[in-house]
Amino acid sequence: MMLEGGAQIVDEEVILEALFAAHEAMQPIFAMQEELQRRAGKPKREFAVKERDAALLKAVEKSIGDSIEKALATKGKKERSAAVYAVSDKVVAELAEKFPDRAKEIVDACDYPRPHPRTDGDP
């Protein structure tokens, strides 16, 4: 487990002690919630996870080669993003013939999140 935080008034040990004390204090609340689930919980629903197309993944991997490593080593945050986007753009262009109309999936397969407008209504 790793924790990160800051405190100005008390020592690290006090915070650590508080964390352990808090964790211990929570145990009855966990037990209570689990008991409630045992008594009144519904069975969990099944859901299918969308599988990624293995052929597409393989093609993307081959097309990227070691160019992504170089792009990720670029100095500067904006420059790095631009370099990686350039790689995924290149991959999309290369695979456009083999996998038409699947640009979004190809970009996703590159595993480097690109900003898109938020639609989840997070406060």
Partner: protein, 184 residues
């Protein structure tokens, strides 16, 4: 199916009940601590929207004035947008719950906690997180809970006497007992 569980927590009764309110939700729990009451409900769509590549999760913590026994009147007849406390508590619950959904789960999901009664002594934020976790746990929504939360404080300046309360009065007591930084 009505179930109610009760424990003694830091000197007050903490209870969780389900099966009485909000029965149309996929999971709902009424949590009580002292005289503070919070209703948490969880619902989730059965099918994902097309082209969904993230988890559309909405978490809201709502404080209505009726929880304090008041109805807005006069110039402000309506309750406006969410207060800072509501937004921050919503985020607190969101950040605790979001990572525990199974990987690849992309059905639209809403967790709403409403403060039904506020007793001015026991803060409803920690209770809301516990209620939200319990509501997800009893629902059929896949989630790797449970989650719990407590508010910690340091009493009388001794770390050995760290005590725990969900209670805001204890927190106030703490802030008055903490050492004052020297001015020299």
């Amino acid at each position: 199916m009505y179930e109610k569980l009760e424990i003694d927590f830091a000197g007050r009764k903490l209870s969780l009940e389900t099966g009485r309110l909000a029965k149309q939700a996929h999971g709902s729990v009424l949590a009580t601590y002292g005289d503070t009451v919070v209703l948490a409900t969880a619902v989730s769509q059965y099918e994902a929207r097309p082209n969904m590549d993230f988890l559309p999760l909405t978490v809201d913590y709502v404080e209505k004035t009726f929880a304090a026994g008041k109805i807005p009147g006069g110039f402000f007849k309506r309750e406006g947008r969410a207060s800072e406390k509501e937004v921050l508590t919503s985020r607190l619950i969101d950040r605790a719950m979001r990572p525990l959904f199974p990987k690849g789960y992309d059905r639209e999901t809403q967790i709403i906690t409403t403060v039904l009664s506020a007793d001015r002594d026991n803060d409803s934020d920690m209770l809301s997180l516990i209620a939200a976790s319990a509501a997800l746990l009893v629902s059929d929504i896949p989630h790797k809970g449970p989650v719990a939360s407590v508010r910690m404080g340091r009493v009388e300046g001794k770390s050995s006497s760290i005590r725990l309360r969900l209670n805001s009065k204890a927190a106030m007591y703490l802030s008055s007992s903490r050492p004052v930084p020297s001015r020299s």
